[in-house]
């Protein structure tokens, strides 16, 4: 495996779950709901997905089950935030903790077992290109689907009526309600979609990437996802670029170490986090840009006019 091939392949593998979950988080945030429980939803998706592959051998069923169980968790989050008018930050943390705990509890009997890797789907012709081919075009199918999903989401927000409604609800729930949109329903569906995608992303890590389940294996990736949405200033394209950049950054750390350059490895390990802080600070510096893109009602409790 050549260095470039590895960087490309490694980036795709590291970035795909981040991108899938970040798209989900983006949908929720566009509708005005800040969901901080991504880490827990990914963990639960990873555990359930792994168990399903272990028991049935079906990878598609695993993604579906991982996604659906995380959707249930998202439904709990949605109910508390939308119906019980809970604070979104606190509720997100609480549901996230619940998800991590449930994943550990349910996954306990499957600790450190492995499943056979999901079959790859090399893209004809493209995967034969030297260097780039095996790096970019020889992966499991979800790796290709993720950018396509991003494209679809971009189209949804840009051109479809549904996308317009989601954005309107996120900008001004009161006005949306006044013109007859069902704010609660739109937000609930957005949250559920976010939960589903987070679960799929978690299942991707356990069944398509590591092929094993272990408590704590999400290791903070859910938080990176939340950061990516801010990093991408709520724009689909930028979120996608951010996910791949983060993938490269995490691969670069290991690559630098493996070439034997004498830098303290803890410093290298910190680089992606430092980079995220710097990026967020730089992007937020121009307050207008943030205000222009951030859903206006993001994080605010919305109570329907009586």
């Amino acid at each position: 495996m050549q260095t470039i091939t590895f960087v490309l392949a490694g980036t795709m593998l590291a970035a795909t779950p981040l991108l899938i979950a970040a798209l989900g988080e983006l949908i929720a945030e566009k509708s005005g709901i800040l969901n901080l429980s991504v880490e827990g939803m990914m963990a639960l998706g990873a555990a359930i997905g792994f168990i399903v592959v272990m028991e049935t051998g079906s990878y598609w069923l695993a993604f579906l089950a991982g996604g659906l169980v995380s959707t249930l968790l998202a439904a709990l989050f949605g109910a508390v935030v939308l119906l019980a008018l809970g604070n979104q930050v606190a509720t997100g943390l609480a549901v996230g903790i619940l998800g991590v705990g449930l994943a550990a509890l349910i996954g306990k009997p499957y600790e450190s077992k492995t499943v056979p890797p999901m079959p790859r789907m090399p893209i004809p012709f493209l995967s034969d290109i030297p260097v780039i081919g095996p790096g970019l075009f020889n992966h499991v199918v979800l790796v290709y689907l993720a950018p396509l999903a991003a494209l679809g989401l971009w189209w949804l927000f840009r051109y479809s009526k549904l996308g317009l409604i989601i954005r309107a609800v996120g900008e001004s729930p009161e006005a949306s309600h006044a013109i007859g949109h069902n704010v609660m329903l739109v937000r609930l569906l957005a949250v559920l979609a976010g939960g589903f995608l987070a679960g799929v992303a978690g299942a991707f890590i356990s069944v398509a990437s590591t092929t094993l389940w272990s408590d704590g294996m999400i290791a903070g990736r859910g938080w990176i996802v939340v950061a990516l949405v801010v990093f991408g200033t709520w724009r689909v394209g930028r979120v996608m670029i951010g996910a791949y950049l983060f993938g490269i950054a995490s691969i670069a750390e290991l690559l630098v170490q493996s070439t034997g350059i004498g830098v303290p490895s803890q410093l290298l390990t910190s680089i992606p986090y430092v980079a995220t802080i710097v990026a967020i600070a730089l992007l937020s510096m121009d307050g207008r840009r943030i205000r222009l893109n951030a859903p206006v009602s993001l994080g605010r409790v919305y109570r329907e006019a009586q």
Partner: protein, 359 residues
Amino acid sequence: MRLRKRIVAWLAGAAAAFVATATQAEPVKISFLYPSPVADVGWAKQLDLGREAIEEKFGDAVESIVVENIPEGPDAARIMNQMVTDGAKFVMLGSFGYMNDGLRLARQHPDIAFIHASGFKQTDNFGTFTARNYEGFYLGGLAAGMVTESDTIGIVAAFAIPEVVAAVNAITLAVHKVDPDAKIKIVWLNSWFDPPKAQEAARALISQGADVLFSLHQDTPSVVNVAEAEGVYVVNTSSDMSAYGPNSVLASVINDWNDYFIESFQAALDGDFKGADFRGGLASGAVKVAAWNDDLTEEQLGTIKQAEADLASGKTHVFAGPLKDQDGNVRAEAGTTLPDQEIFGMNWLVEGVSGSLPN
């Protein structure tokens, strides 16, 4: 028979029966504390096998309690205390980080025997046990040097604790013995638990040309999975992981605590437990190297087995002089071997490792 004699005999019999029922009714409690969950493979699993060995040998005479997945923080002390309060007479502490709390408790309870993994402080009732894993990794290193075609060996390591550093050095020395041109590359994860990252590190090393990987102190078969998928060899720690990588596992360096645990517990039962520093290697069987890959030829395996026999008999030593570190300082003169104290406190890499310690 005189009455007095009969009474005495009766009393003695009753007393014996009483003692017998008492011991039958109340098995000796033994408590085991692990830093990670007991899975199919890994560090905690090997410790747990040792516990099972005690149960098998002593049967109903023991009752064991297991607490797993306890981080090395302020909670560990409470759990240990709970174990002692519940009547444990023999306590096994499965992580270095339990040292100070364990010692404190041992001082308060001189009647309870403690054994502690990887530590360096002993008292009368507090013994330590450490594996000379570097001996096993030396053999793994020989095999790696024999099979590598790219002359590049990659090491995925969790944290630079002395035990792991010694393993890295042993691997380097062994590989260079067989293949002096081989490059040794290393990635430190700085994370106890991040299987995806361990796998990315493994792939990074493969991309840098490594065709033999070493997985140092990863509890999960994460690196083995990558090796199997990418078609490179791997030597792993703790348990036999050949089931996860039937083609890729070159060898597994296994810890076997059964004999040591049984002996220590027997000593505790007999009342002659003495907190000592047990450092088990190939000779004592505490370190075993198993799951040798079929790709190794008879001749190669013969060389390795000879090296194993020589290390076990003490004829040779992994860290025999002349030994230089990365900066060219002489660490052991020719004709000497590195004392245990330096092996178990190792914080320098031998000449020939490309990469540095994270400090």
